[in-house]
Symmetry: C2
Subunit: 227 residues, 2 copies
Amino acid sequence: MTHIDISKPILDKNDRLAQSNKELLREKKIFVLDLMASPGAGKTTAILATIEALKERFRIAVIEGDIASDVDAQKIKAAGVPAIQINTGGVCHLESDMIRHALDQLPLDDLDLIIVENVGNLVCTTEFYLGENAKVMILSVPEGDDKPLKYPTIFQTSKAVILSKTDTMPVFDFDYEAFERTVNSLNPKAPIFQLSAKTGEGIQQWAEWLANQVKHAQNAPDGQSLH
Amino acid sequence: MTHIDISKPILDKNDRLAQSNKELLREKKIFVLDLMASPGAGKTTAILATIEALKERFRIAVIEGDIASDVDAQKIKAAGVPAIQINTGGVCHLESDMIRHALDQLPLDDLDLIIVENVGNLVCTTEFYLGENAKVMILSVPEGDDKPLKYPTIFQTSKAVILSKTDTMPVFDFDYEAFERTVNSLNPKAPIFQLSAKTGEGIQQWAEWLANQVKHAQNAPDGQSLH
C-alpha cells in the first residue's frame, strides 16, 4: 500500500513563506514572538501586561489569531497599540501566509516587536513556523500540573514557558514542583515564568527576558541577526 | 488556479469508518458520548463523576484520547471501569479508525454506555464524526465567558454544554448571563449544565440528562435506534 503524507507539501509551502517573512522581518529589524496556549489561558491578558511593561522601550504591534471574532484585537487597540485581527474561519492554527497578509498591513518601519497571539490550541500551533524569532507558550494553573505529560511537543518547542493565573494555585491544588520537574525534563533550557495578571507577580521578570531577546537579536551582526 | 481540498478525502474515509462503528454500536445497543474540551477543562474529572452517578444503572467503559501518556486511563481504571488509552502521537483529535481499534478491545456485549474523552482541543475535534450518538462539550470557568464567540463551531456541534469548575466563578469574574446568551444564540436547543466537581453542584442534573439519552436510544425502534 502506498502511503501519501499529505501534511508534507502543506508544511513545505508554509516553510517557504515563513522564510520569506523572516527575511522581511530581519531587514526591518523586527523581533517576532509567537505566543501559544490553550483557549482561555490568558494570552491576551499576558500581551496587555507585556505591552504595559515594554511600551516605553520598544515600538510594539500585535497580530491576533482567532477562529472567529475580533474581541482580542479590540482589547489591544484600546491599549494604544496597532493590532491586526486574523480570523482563520475554522483553521486551528496560524500559517505563514496569514502572517504575511497581516505584516502587509502594519507600519513595519516603525516597529521593534510584533507579538503574535496564535489560535488557542496546544497541538496544531506547534507545527507551523511563521518566520518568528521565538515561540513561547502559556499554561494556566487551572489546566493542571499534568499537562506537560499530555502535550509534550509544545513544551519542547517553546523557548520559554509562562505559567499564568498563579494566584489561583491554592484553589486548584497545582503541584508546582511536579510541573517544573516535567517541564525541565522535556526542555531543560526553557525558563519558566510564573505570572499573575491579578497580583502583577512575574510580569517584570518575563518582560526583562523578552526585552533581552529583542535587544540581542537587534544587535546581532547581519546574517545572524534576528534568529 | 485549481484548488484541491485535501481535507475532503480524509473526512470521507473517516465518515465511512464512523458509519461502520455506528452500525456495530447499534447492534450492540451501546450509546457513545464524545466529550470535547480544552486541555485541563475537567473532562476526566467530569467522567469520573458521571461514572459514580450512573454506574448502578449502566455498564460503562471509557476510551481516552491523548497526544501522549496514559495518566487519564489509569484514573478511570482506578474507578473500576474498563478504559482504553489511545495515544494519537501528535494528531490533535480522535478519528473513527482509532475508535474502532479501541472498540475491538472492549467487552461490547457487556456495555450500555461508552464515554470517549477526546483530545483537549476546541477546534479539530468537532470535525470528525466517530460513530457517536452525541457530542457534548465542556467549557471551564477559568477559560472565560467570551469563548463561545471565539470558538463557535464546537458550541454549535454539541448536543449539550457543560460549564465546569463553577465554584471558581467569583475568582474569575465569569459573566454567566453573557455566556448563556451567546451559547443560546449559537445553539438554542442545547441545555447548559453547571458543574462543580468540588461542591458536587449539577452532577445529578447532567447525569439524569445523559441517562435519558441512553434510555431513549436503547428503547428506540430498530432502524432509528441509537441515533
